[in-house]
Amino acid sequence: MYSANRATHFMKFRDYNLEGFFDEMIGENGNPRASVRHLARNLEALPEGELIRRQKSADRALVQMGITFNVYGESAGVEKTLPFDLVPRIIAAEEWKRIEVGLKQRIEALNLFIDDIYHDQKIIRDGVVPTHVIASSKGFRKQCIGMKPPRGVWCHITGTDLVRHSDGQIYVLEDNLRCPSGVSYVLENRHLMKSLFPEVFAASNIRPVSNYPLRLRDVLEYLAPDSISSPRVVLLTPGVFNSAYFEHSFLAQQMGIELVEGSDLVVSDGYVWMRTTKGFERVDVIYRRIDDDFLDPEAFRPDSMLGVPGLMEVYKAGNVALANAPGSGVADDKVVYAYVPRIIKYYADEEPILPNVPTYICDEAKDLAYVLTNLSELVVKAANESGGYGMLIGPHSTKEQCADFAKRIKADPRNYIAQPTLALSRVPTVVADHLEGRHVDLRPYILCGRDIFVMPGGLTRVALKKGSLVVNSSQGGGSKDTWVLADDTTKDADIHAREATMSQAQSLGADA
């Protein structure tokens, strides 16, 4: 299939082997793809030892800046930096346009779906999605039935995981509609790259990502009750021990809003208040980075110490907005995922622009039989797990592991789906003093407020272990900067965005 596996013309790529995978940078003929030639030339021109020097300088910067995440279940040295690889993933303008349109189509349909589920349930009555799939989805909240979120939007912030298979096609791997994390790394990675490769930035047409916090703040302010002219927006974090605490604090800082913990908030008099040194101040919009379960002990889990008692009553009365709306997680279930192409067709009457990965639903007898006999070739996922936990990668597993999963699937078929093992595409990655291919995925971020905005770029996660397909940070993954290239049609929008970001930076007195 691949005629020339070696990129012999480029020294840094001298032993670079495609090994039969789709490579985002190097084409099948062994030469850099058209969109990345500029970067490839630049990497190639670096003097001996410079690549590794810059990589080390990036590693050091991450530790000093304290850009860290916490790993659950590790008591000693709980803080780790997310390893950063300095070779970016590049996406051509044409290809990005298709991704952007596809993501918009998907989010629009998912919002309609969630709203339908908590109201008329037409999609169930029309037999498109079985009722027991919804009822047993862990993200389904009966407390949300009949609820009308501000401006009719349920899911304001989404991170959708995309992968490219060896056929060159981009597939949607999963939708994260609860509290998707990682966007802070996108912003910090870009910041880092600009200091490491200023010469490449100056010469390339890379679309900016830095206006994301401003966009996010706009979305959040849009959700405030009409009567409030200058709404107070806060970010609710579980606290400094949460794995994504750095991101919470970073986003609050970038948006210029208050970062609060549950204990800073109190419900009184039908409103939410925060305790300040000068007394109590009213809160209008909460960007919550706490799962539904922990949001309000009176409405959800009574043992939650992280939330705010009485919050849901205030929300239902329309006196505070929450993003994302509680209950949005119903569409985040991996079995519901399998139905998304049908969901898009149902609400939009269109074919999905971005296809799903073919998915076997263990809850359906025919699929279950197939899955059980082909376990060693499939990837099996538990419906409600994330972070790479509760997952079996058939080709990389022992007989015992497969047998164990077979048992688990039979015991609770509703909780499992299976997919063919994808040959995720690769990007050259710094290994010692040279480059080797490593598998990647991509998580773009989509904001849904007055309109839908897709950040041009996203988090490229990379499995740093040779041959590994698991990109999660908790499982030895790292990240890369993601460059979406501009063309004439995107230029105006980006210039506008850049100006908006600059004026915000000035008003905040920041030099970022």
Partner: protein
């Protein structure tokens, strides 16, 4: 400003200041040792200065140089060791990263990582250099704070914490050393004594400034300078005046007024120091005077907690709610 945030900022700066003072005490003592014949005698007072002697007795027993240095520098079980202070300062900073400037975070994080490296044995060449470095890193943090953070409410909480901590530490060094030194009244005037007195001043980085102000070294002059001076930045009076300024700035109250008990208390302490004479303090007993002062400063600390940080139940306030919706 959120109460929790104010509290974290306050403790962040208190802990950095505490680490700096411990480093200064140790640094001075290390130099002093070079002139002393009885080395281990000189280390116990240092533990007393930090107020943690009970914990030290229990776990270390003998006040050798090695034990004391370990206890005060790298002992993670001693909450007031340099490494524990910096860890606590960094944890507090981490919970308010979006409020403080990124330069402040960067410096404090680097500071902590450096001491942490030294604790694991990496990168510590000479003890003297190490303690000098801790002091400088703290000065750098304070300088960065003043130069990069808006001098608003958060900055005032920062300054409040730092000045109260510094006043407390100066009072302790004065108390411990004065007590020790007065015991050997017969030695006064001998070369050793001058060295010891100079060391007291050096513990507060006050030696040169004292020389300029008072010339010759005397117990009375030292008390006057470290307790009652209004211009020397580590003098107790100077620190409490600055703390009082910040306290009033936080609530927006004019300096000559008080809107809560903690403002009343701290203003009272300041005017007490302004009118106190050094002879009357020494005659009444310096130790008693400092003891009482420390109690009062603790009450200020409690008062700050009660007034700004404690989570009280909110009284419904319809006026605020309607004000904002109009």
């Amino acid at each position: 400003m959120l109460s929790r945030v104010a509290e974290s900022i306050y403790w962040m700066s208190r802990y950095v200041e505490r680490a700096e003072n411990v480093a200064r005490f140790i640094g001075v003592n290390l130099t002093l040792m070079l002139d002393s014949s009885d080395r281990d005698q000189q280390w116990r007072p240092l533990v007393n200065t930090t107020g943690d002697h009970a914990d030290f007795e229990k776990r270390y027993k003998v006040a050798t140089e090695e034990n004391v240095l370990l206890f005060l520098t790298f002992d993670r079980n001693n909450p007031n060791s340099i490494i524990s202070c910096l860890r606590a300062a960094r944890e507090n900073a981490r919970s308010v990263r979006e409020i403080i400037s990124s330069e402040m975070w960067l410096q404090l994080n680097t500071f902590y990582l450096k001491v942490n490296d030294a604790a694991t044995g990496a990168g510590m060449d000479s003890a003297h250099d190490f303690y000098t470095d801790v002091k400088l890193s703290s000065h750098l943090f304070t300088g960065i704070t003043d130069a990069t953070m808006t001098h608003g409410e958060g900055w005032h909480f920062c300054r409040l914490g730092r000045k109260l901590e510094r006043a407390d530490k100066t009072s302790r060094i004065l108390d411990v050393k004065y007590f020790i030194l007065l015991r050997s009244v017969a030695d006064i005037g001998t070369p050793l004594d001058d060295t010891q007195w100079a060391a007291v001043l050096r513990s507060a980085s006050a030696f040169e400034m004292y020389r300029k102000r008072h010339g010759s070294i005397s117990p009375k002059g030292i008390v006057q300078f470290l307790l009652l001076d209004s211009e020397f930045p580590r003098a107790i009076r100077f620190c409490l005046n600055a703390a009082n300024d910040s306290l009033h700035a936080i609530s927006g109250t004019p300096l000559d007024k008080a809107t809560n008990t903690v403002e009343e208390l701290l203003s009272g302490l300041c005017s007490g120091l302004a009118s106190a004479g050094v002879d009357e303090v020494i005659n009444a007993g310096l130790h008693e005077y400092l003891d009482n002062l420390q109690d009062q400063m603790n009450l200020v600390g409690t008062g700050i907690f009660e007034t700004f940080f404690a989570k009280r139940v909110r009284e419904p306030d319809k006026k605020t709610a309607t004000d904002r919706t109009q």
